[in-house]
Amino acid sequence: MQAVLQKTPLHDRHVALGARMVPFAGWEMPVQYEGVIPEHLAVRKDCGAFDVSHMGEIEVEGPRARELLQSLLANDLDRIGPGQAQYTLLTNERGGIIDDLIVYELDPFRFLLIVNAANKDAAFRWIKDREITGSDVRDVSDQYALIAVQGPKAIERLGLEHEPAFTFAMGEIDGVESVIARTGYTGEEGVELLVMGEDAVELWDAVLARGAVPCGLGARDTLRLEVCYPLHGNDITPETDAISAGLGWVCALEKEFTGVEELRLIKEEGPSRRLVAFVMEERAVPRAGMPIEEGGEVTSGTHSPVLEQGIGLGYVPAEHSAPETEITIDVRGKPRKARVVKKPIYQRGES
């Protein structure tokens, strides 16, 4: 039996715009409207809008909310204050990654976690099961929609002021209130608008009227891969650790949190394999699951619309992980040369 797919408040808008809808993490989501490549380029050159309402929201509140989160999340919450956000990891006892997420400090006693749709239930359950007196953990996903507006012209088109990355505030766009967060998954300047579900259509219409190009999950994936943002379930999983994945910078190893001993050990000994970025030297599109002949495998791969060549992320033995190392990808039985490159593959302002 197939479970009924959930629909975001913007579902009818996507269908009316001619989007190709696909099942994704239990949701029916737009994968593309006009096409992955034009949507990708719109975000790199101008401004695109994404419905990412499938993502989950978990609220943690109470006098000991910070203490609870400090013990469960890898990054150091004391580095941020109210109105600031932080990229962080929810880790298991082995140092594996249950989810990667952004935590928003609403006030010193109230935090919002925006988590991956596919991991929402697991993340919520993990935190809820570890709730302490003085902390209250709630799944508030059903209340919100989330619209990402990204690209070099996003701020200007929305009539906003430039603000530092990873800050947020309540604000208004054409009369619609939302939490305007300076975060995203594309490597461009932009915002993510956390809006009450019932206001989502009005906000979406306003954003498109201001010239943002509607973009689907297809472009979201190619955009994040060009800037080497890991995708949970592909590049990072409960079986992979942050150090090997190159996410050591997100782990405050001097504080205590779940799995920290394991991570300290891996850091000290040096990981045996590393998640590297690579570009194809020969014509081919790498895909997740393709073996890398030197050992390991591709965890994400695509055709880069900006570089116009195959790019990817994959785990390789540590001795093959230095930039400029030649590796060979097994593309359906055909060996194809690739070159390890420094992350990110694409940096803002290159095109």
Binding site: G35, I37, G218, V285, T302, H303, P305, E308
Partner: protein, 129 residues
């Protein structure tokens, strides 16, 4: 370009077309195939001189999201690969029946042509999908 299925071509149910020219044929994918795939970013052609067989894979095309096998509508020997599509795969999206042709073959069994669909039968097939 707009959806079309030229009357002068023969079609294979796997969304490939053939333009018969004496004992040779030019092969490509249909408008429907390129539309389903989205913009093509890679074309893996067969070697020149390779033998290809009707209903079997002779190469691959890829869009950003997916890879798709190319199914040969006819058997033959590859006499030419369209290098323009190797260099610019999106040519297939722009002009699937013209500049976006994929290979030219020398037919080994011209009787196979009779097994292919005409444009009307192919249009009917995709209308049902």
């Amino acid at each position: 370009m707009a959806e079309s299925y030229p009357d002068e071509l023969k079609y294979h149910p796997e969304h490939d077309w053939a333009r018969i020219d004496g004992d040779q044929a030019t092969l490509g994918v249909t408008w429907y195939a390129q539309d389903s795939l989205g913009e093509l970013v890679h074309y893996e052609p067969p070697q020149e001189d390779a033998r290809i067989e009707k209903d079997h894979t002779y190469g691959e095309v890829e869009s950003v999201k997916a890879v798709s096998d190319l199914i040969s509508p006819l058997s033959g020997r590859v006499v030419e690969v369209n290098q323009k599509v190797v260099d610019a795969p999106e040519t297939v999206n722009e002009d699937p029946y013209g500049e976006g042709w994929l290979i030219r073959i020398e037919l080994t069994d011209s009787a196979e042509v009779d097994e292919l669909l005409d444009a009307e039968a192919y249009r009917k097939l995709i209308a049902e999908q």
